[in-house]
């Protein structure tokens, strides 16, 4: 064994490594944030939020993209959450633990979670836009994003459900409850904070995805608001991508302003999720 002195030294070194890595990441993020704020903040005002896109940077706004993002995320959540939760509950609570086939399924879910998003875009283009003939619509985009985040939702929910102690379930079963009653009465409430964390991560990722939506056909110039889920649409990151790619420096500032709006959007989304989570954490295990 090392001497006492050496162990103290090692502890100190390790502490500093952890500390430095933490602050390095924070510093990097702050630099990015400051840069964007400096470039874009002066462009952010009520007109920018409420205006339609335009080829004149002074008149250009982000309204259609913002509304498009709201629609797309709402629909993505509506599609992905029931499927993701249902799958996770089945795999953890009902499925036979020893089935080789289901083990294979689980392995593949993990693989899918790591797949590049553009591949989901190509799948969405083929399956939803072409085969199902949904075209460049909100629903096609949402289904694509739904597929993209489904593995993340499944895995996070599975983890959360698995972390619920067996004795919580036993307590329910010993009262003569059915499995669905135990799941809804005890397992899901206990797992909810963990599930919410997974949903936040998954949906935040969906909000920021650009590539698959470009492939599916989210346009960057949409001069009207979508009226139903079969309409054309654009979303914040696609709009930002488009502005950032233009040669005029004014548009780069617009892109930065768009990023600020996107960050605010994400922040709002996460805050709502945190509030819901806090509500359900009242009775901690």
């Amino acid at each position: 064994m090392n001497s006492k002195n050496q162990r103290m030294q090692l502890n100190k070194i390790f502490y500093w490594i952890c500390r430095v890595t933490t602050w390095a990441s924070v510093l990097l993020l702050c630099t990015l944030l400051v840069h964007i704020l400096k470039q874009g903040l002066s462009w952010v005002n009520w007109e920018f939020i409420m205006n339609f896109p335009s080829r004149y940077p002074e008149k250009a706004g982000i309204y259609t993209a913002l509304i498009g993002s709201v629609y797309v995320i709402a629909l993505t959540a509506a599609v992905a959450i029931p499927f993701g939760l249902g799958t996770a509950i089945y795999l953890e609570e009902y499925a036979p633990k020893k089935s080789l086939f289901l083990r294979f399924v689980k392995l593949n879910i993990a693989n899918l979670a790591g797949m590049p998003s553009i591949i989901y875009g190509l799948l969405g283009l083929t399956l939803f836009a072409r085969v199902m003939d949904l075209g460049r619509s909100i629903i096609a985009g949402s289904l694509t994003l739904g597929l993209l985040v489904l593995p993340v939702i499944i895995m996070a929910s599975q983890e959360a459900i698995r972390a619920v102690p067996i004795m919580v379930r036993e307590a329910g079963f010993a009262m003569g409850a059915r499995r669905y009653q135990v799941i809804f009465g005890h397992v899901l409430p206990a797992a909810l904070p963990g599930i919410m964390t997974g949903l936040i991560l998954a949906l935040s990722r969906a909000v920021g995805e650009t590539a698959p939506l470009i492939v599916v056909g989210a346009l960057s110039y949409v001069a009207f608001l979508p009226e139903n889920m079969f309409d054309m649409f654009t979303v914040l990151p696609v709009q930002i991508y488009n502005w950032a790619g233009r040669p005029q420096p004014e548009f780069h500032s617009l892109a930065a302003a768009g990023i600020i709006i996107l960050l605010l959007f994400l922040f709002t989304l996460n805050s709502i999720a945190v509030l819901i989570r806090a509500k359900f954490q009242r009775y901690k295990l």
Binding site: V168, A174, M175, G176, A177, H186, R282, Y283, L285
Partner: protein, 250 residues
């Protein structure tokens, strides 16, 4: 001699290939406390959990033989295990109240089983029977986790009573509690004996001696001796029983 309300007939229990309980037959009488004692790993908890089919959730567990409740084999095909658990309640080693209010801890069981009941009435009577009413009557709508360990365990007993079972299984109900809380549970078991058949697994020899009418001694998955507690503790027939009870091994 009264007929046992619940009995095991040639019961063997396996975990995969491993046999945990070996051809055990014994009967548990109504309105009596039966203590199941024996060293760790002797199969006493396994047997207890098989009495209301809580073993169903362990995938490799297999039960052979018959467990008869009022003459009916609870492992008969088409038997509804939830039905069995409604009549044969269980209290666990570690207090495990639901993450809900005290009130809802009591009403949850009857509710999910579709019983019709007066909630306030049921909560009060269950808590009174579990000797918890006076301590919690002013905070029925607080979280059950705000209670102490011993109170939580009495709450678990109360919620089991609320289902009006005939048999209550207790899997080392005091092992996670301090001596004072243990004493209260023991007193409670003494009171409950008048109305229920109680089967309790315990590591605590003195406790078995204090609270039980009959005692079953298990060793290595086999039932070594079963009889009146007084006899088992003062004049056991079997040498192994004597050695265990006097603390020579185990």
């Amino acid at each position: 001699m009264t007929e046992p309300i619940l009995s095991a007939k040639n019961v063997s229990i396996y975990y995969g290939q491993k046999r945990a309980v070996n051809n055990v037959s014994l009967g548990f009488k109504d309105k009596k406390v039966t203590a199941v004692i024996g060293p760790s790993g002797c199969g006493k908890s396994t047997l207890l959990r098989s009495l209301n089919r809580m073993n169903d959730f362990i995938p490799e567990c297999r039960v052979e033989g018959q467990i008869l409740y009022r003459g009916e084999n609870i492992y008969k095909p088409n038997t509804d295990p939830a039905d069995v658990r409604r009549r044969i309640g269980m209290v666990f080693q570690k207090p495990n109240p639901f993450p809900k209010t005290i009130y809802k801890n009591i009403t949850w069981g009857p509710k999910v089983n579709g019983y019709t009941f007066d909630g306030d009435e049921l909560v009060e009577s269950a808590l009174r029977k579990a000797a918890l009413w006076d301590e919690v009557k002013d905070r029925l709508h607080d979280s059950a986790f705000a209670l102490s360990g011993g109170q939580q365990q009495r709450l678990c007993i109360a919620r089991t009573i609320a289902m009006s079972p005939e048999v209550i299984l207790m899997d080392e109900p005091c092992s996670a509690l301090d001596p004072k809380a243990t004493l209260r549970i023991e007193e409670l078991i003494g009171e409950l004996r008048e109305n229920y058949c109680i089967i309790t697994v315990t590591h605590n020899m003195q406790q078995a001696g204090r609270i039980s009418d009959e005692t079953a001694f298990f060793y290595n998955g086999s039932l070594i001796e079963f009889g009146e507690t007084e006899k088992i503790f003062t004049n056991p027939d079997n040498k192994q029983t004597e050695d265990y009870i006097t603390g020579r091994f185990g």
